[in-house]
Amino acid sequence: MQDRILLAHGSGGTMMRELIEELFVAEFGDEALRRMDDAASFELPAGRAAMSTDTYVVSPLFFPGADIGRLAVCGTVNDIATSGATPMFLSVGFVLEEGLPVEDLRRIVVSMREAASEAGVRIVTGDTKVVDKGHGDGVYINTAGLGVIPDGIDLSGSYAKPGDKILLSGTLGDHGIAVVSTREGLSFSTDILSDAAPLSAMVAAVLDAAPDARCFRDPTRGGLSSALNEIASASGVCVVVDEASVPVRDQVRGACEMLGYDVFHVANEGKMLAVVPADGADAALGAMRGAPYGEDAQIIGEVIEGTGGRVYVDTVFGARRIMDMLVGEQLPRIC
């Protein structure tokens, strides 16, 4: 096989077949995939299905702690998990840039296989396209996921009620800062690793301990603020976060201070928010802390009366201010 991706790899001919067989099928190793049919078929348990799709365009492709492949699996797994479903099947669509080293693609694919294995999902079908050099930023990956929601589970961001507690599974901002630390022109170094991780086991554990949980959200782009603002808005309630209780690593704090970033706006790829009724909060917290990736979980706030859909922060000085939503993108500032 070539050492670089060429346009021919996307044209449906022998080179594409070789790429699929020798790289994708060989590495993903799934029996449905191996059949190379245009559609994968599999047994789906009875019940309400949950489906989600997301496209991953992160640059650079490899960053401290993870890569675009791990992100592409974990992101969709986590979105499915927020519905309460166990994620079972994934599809993968690749848009490859002409000239991409095949070794890089292999690394990404192996990373996806490992993440899928950890999450207990099967990658059953895929697609490959190649675009001209100068387009596609190396690789874009779309994943779509399918799962089935167990009976009796009904979650929604519109179910939050005053008095509910808000749990966060761990430290904020790790992923966003890990990625930004690689951007040229910013030149700083940290030990911060992306937190990209599959959280379906955590969600299942929390649901087990607190079956009345209202909803889950993974605070990805737009950070904690976007996730909370969406819930507040959908449920027609207000939310207040206790600033002192939000876990943030020192290095992330330092990087945010240096760049002028708001840690509430920074993306996370391995964290989960849970909104649970007050009487189930302690059990939910215990379950979260006992689950993989949840050891730093905290109760960070609660749902309060008010229909404005506002999210507030109680600062350490006893003042209350608004947690605003990110507008546009965060850029490093000097002011």
Partner: protein
């Protein structure tokens, strides 16, 4: 004005460049404006430059004074009258 944060000088290299540490984040900054800064001192970092050495003794003193502030009546201006101006 603008964002400047205290960072500890970890090492000083050539051409007045130093490696500094901010809560575990390390960066290279220019010491052009603080040529006398030493390893172990804290400097204010702005736009990739150290703009001042932070006087830890003053910091300590200020905090101590504020901690003992009487709710009514205490003057908390600088103890040294020569600092202020009328």
């Amino acid at each position: 004005m603008c964002l400047a944060i205290p960072a500890k000088i970890v090492s000083i290299g050539e051409l007045n460049m130093a490696e500094v540490d901010i809560l575990g984040v390390s960066r290279h900054v220019s010491l052009d404006m603080t040529p006398e800064a030493k390893v172990g001192e804290f400097v204010l970092v702005h736009a990739g430059f150290s703009i001042q050495v932070v006087d830890e003794a003053y910091a300590q003193e200020t905090l101590e004074t504020l901690k003992q502030l009487d709710i009514v009546g205490d003057e908390i201006g600088p103890p040294d009258a020569a600092e202020s101006d009328a």
